[in-house]
Amino acid sequence: MIIRLIALTTLAYLVLPLVVVIGVSLTETKFLAFPPQGLTLSWYAVILENPTYIRSFLTSAGLAALATMAAMLVALPAAIAMTRYTFPGKSALSAVLLSPLVLPHIVIGAALLQFGASIGLVRNFPALLVGHVIIVTPFVLRTLLPLFSHDQLSQEEASRDLGASAWSTFFLVTLPQIKAGLVSGGIFAFITSFINVELSIFNTTSTLNTIPVQLFNYVQYSVDPSIAAVSSLTILAAAIAIILIDWLIGLDFLSGS
């Protein structure tokens, strides 16, 4: 009973701030009010008319999409190599490729800024992209690694035996079986890139900005319900992504045996 109470309170604690943000975005007042006073969608209209927000949103979406695709191109061969081969330095390679998951992003960002400054890779879209590829690749790699099984190896042999080339085998036999994992890892990667501040903040400018960095700068100086409206839209995007993943791979992994 006590456990139930603690658990439900904790769940409420997890949801509360998101509910507050959505609530605030609907208020009619010009200041942040929760519970909202009156209901209006006018703050959404305000941000949709603001070209800076639109531009940042497009930058973020484009950045996340490109970073995710690049991460797949990097992670897929790495995963195949790590599951199908034994080679010296394999565990070191795996440690390096997965380390951005736990290393401070602010340090990675600083390092890229300092290094990028020497080769002109700074405060432009490619600079942003490179950093995001580094931090999202481990997400794709981590979902891919357990998907390459021993059974698949003999299925690939069977496919070759039946007359398919190595490439057709990859597309006809291997890829269909890892597709769901690749897509869900991709969604994780997309979201991770889409909500990143610590890395992007080093390379954004007033004209090249991502949504979270713009929110971050904005929130530090002034706040009004339009911020809440932008935030609500990102919550909505996250909810859609989660439902997609749930639909693809199922999220009931906490079910007991």
Binding site: L32, I195, V219
Partner: protein, 282 residues
Amino acid sequence: MFTSRLTLLWLLALPLCVFTAFFLIPLGVVFVASLTTQDGQFTLSQYGRVLLDGYHWQVIAVTFRLAILSTIICIVLGYPLAWYLVRIVKWRSWRRACVIMLILPLFTSNIVRSFGWMVLLGRTGLVNDALLGAGLIERPIRFLGTETGILIGLVYILLPFTVLTIGNALARVEPSLEHASRDLGAGPLRTFCSITFPLTMHGVMAGGIIVFSMAISAYVTPALLSGGKVTVLAMLAFQQYSTVFDFNYGGALSITLLTFTMALIGISSWMTRIGVHEKKGN
């Protein structure tokens, strides 16, 4: 059917190039910078500046205090929630909904989540209103700009990680082991302490490591909820790069932060391994 060494080389080419060029070399550059002066002479003075100054130790102390407290609170709150989701919830759809509620914050920007807390924790925010209304306090408590405020925000952001790792470990515990313990005369509490908890220890450790490493390097949440009144290591490092442009000193701060993170990950995984060995020894 990828069997030749040549194929292996092709497979590894892109990952190796990308991570060497944009991850290992940049980190190397920072490391070298942290050991040199502005004109390229070798020096340890940057680290001296970081480690011999009382102010820095105060910042490091605050950073550690926040990280340790967040880790403990996340485990203490996360375990019951994980238990509830794995063992108590019977209805599949509700568990699914709970997992979605758990993951939704993870998929939402730190900004948005911290922003929610800025609204909640303000002088006239919901939390103070509720506490005042319940008669628990007489004047509003100041949360924003205090370590308590930052702690609430950090725990909020990191809690899902511990729930997920502990829940995963819990779902894998064989129920027959617990039944055997009960059968041999142990009560529910005894069974939990000597069977279930030790079996989920690796999940607790894994969750703890993630929370600690993210808490110690957190930037956005402390920056937003501190209101400039509390400083953590990540904020200090960022200042050097964004406003002061002292890459050598900033490098030393970054490497310090990196070292603390890696050392703690190392110690925790070492402790987990020791724990496993002891169990095998018994």
